[in-house]
Every structure is written in C-alpha cells, then in structure tokens.
C-alpha cells in the first residue's frame, strides 16, 4: 500500500527519557513534515524537510531533533521528555508546495508520565 507509515502508534514513557518516532513514505514525495496535535486537536507544524534538507524549523524546544537519512524517511528524536510533550505526533508528506495536499500518517500518541 502506498502510504505514510509511522511507528510506534502508541508510546508511553517516563519523564526524562529519550524516545524516537520513525516515519517512512513510499509515495515518492520530496517533502516531509512533523506536526503536533495537542489535546484541543490543534495541529501545529514543527519541522519540514525537502530532499533531506531542513526547510522549516518552528519554535520547538531543541530537545526535539528531526533526522532525515533520505527523502523517504523522517524520524523525530525527543530528549529529556516532559509532561507537556504528551500529544499526538503526525508525520506527513507532499510533492511540491502543497499543491496536491498532504498525506498524513496515522499518528503516534505519546504519553509522558
């Protein structure tokens, strides 16, 4: 199936831990994104990569570090997790400047306890 797939789907971890979320797309898109959806369902962009190059880096704590080993993968590493990091994280991809819409993954629900 052509899609954006992210793992894990659920992640429960303790404060202070370091965790990673992986994302892969097989759509041949050149741009990938990380979005955070908070408890009020508001989707906010965090990062964007185009062909492995960082092009958008929003005001996100530097505990969050994206890594794109190739244009089909965009991983998100989070250091020293805090309670406020609890949210659903969505990976997405697009071809070009959003002209054809984004394709989103199914999300990773991160709970920090």
């Amino acid at each position: 199936d052509t899609a954006v797939s992210q793992t894990p789907k659920y992640l429960v971890t303790q404060m202070g831990n370091d965790k990673s979320i992986k994302c892969e797309q097989n759509l041949g898109h050149d741009t990938m994104y990380w979005y955070k959806q908070d408890s009020k369902k508001f989707l906010k962009i965090m990062f964007s990569y185009n062909n492995k190059e960082l092009i958008i880096n929003e005001t996100v704590p530097n505990r969050f570090s994206p890594k794109s080993p190739d244009k089909a993968h965009l991983n998100l590493h989070i250091n020293s997790l805090e309670l406020g990091d609890s949210a659903v994280y969505f990976c997405a991809s697009s071809q070009g400047r959003q002209a054809n819409g984004y394709t989103f993954g199914s999300g990773t629900r991160l709970t920090v306890v």
């Binding site: 954006v4 369902k41 508001f42 962009i45 997405a92 400047r97 959003q98 054809n100 984004y102 999300g107």
Partner: protein
C-alpha cells in the same frame, strides 16, 4: 496577529441536508487553501484544494468557495450522510511554505 478560525467547534445537522462549514482568516495572503477530514484516532485526509485565483471547486458532493476579499472559505457537503460525521480542518499556505491549520469543526450528521 495571524489567525485562522473555523467558526464553530461543532455542527449538528439532519441526514440529507447540506452542511456548511466556515473558515475565516486574518493577516494572511494565502496561495492555497485546503480542506481535510479527520476521523477519531486517524490522521487528516486531504479533500480539496483551492487556489487564491479560484472562486469555487467541486468534488462529488463537496464544494469549496474562496473569497479573498472577505478572507473566508466555505465548505459544503450536500446530501449529507451519517458517514460524513468527522472533524473537518481548513488549512492555508501563505507563501511561506508552511501549511497552517484551523482548529477544526466537528460535524455530526444524524439519521
């Protein structure tokens, strides 16, 4: 400051009626405006895109209008069905390469 507002958090309508959702924005000059559908526990799914120089776009039972003077987009679902129940998100790109989302409107279509 820049804002995108979807004017109601929830909308309840009867099956068969037309649902109309509103997206207003301030202090943006969007190149594109997009509409997405999100079901509980799932990622948003792209529905329609309309460009700044377009007034209206249709896809099956969906229609989107875009008025850059009023700074508003309307999203219509005609002959609504219970399966249309979901949260609908508008999003715009203001020539910055970022797609910024509204907070969503949850539509409930009752049989």
């Amino acid at each position: 400051s820049q804002k995108i507002e979807q004017n109601s958090e929830a909308l309840n309508i009867q099956e068969g009626k037309t649902a109309t959702l509103t997206c207003n924005y301030t202090n943006y000059s969007p190149a594109y405006l997009q509409w997405y559908r999100q079901d509980p526990g799932r990622g948003p799914v792209f529905l329609l895109l309309i460009r700044e120089n377009e007034k209206e776009k249709r896809k099956e039972r969906l229609k989107v209008t875009f008025d850059t003077t009023l700074k508003q987009s309307l999203f219509h679902i005609t002959a609504s069905q219970p399966a249309d129940s979901a949260t609908y998100l508008c999003a715009l790109d203001s020539h910055t390469g970022k797609l910024i989302f509204g907070q969503g409107t949850t539509l409930q279509v009752k049989p």
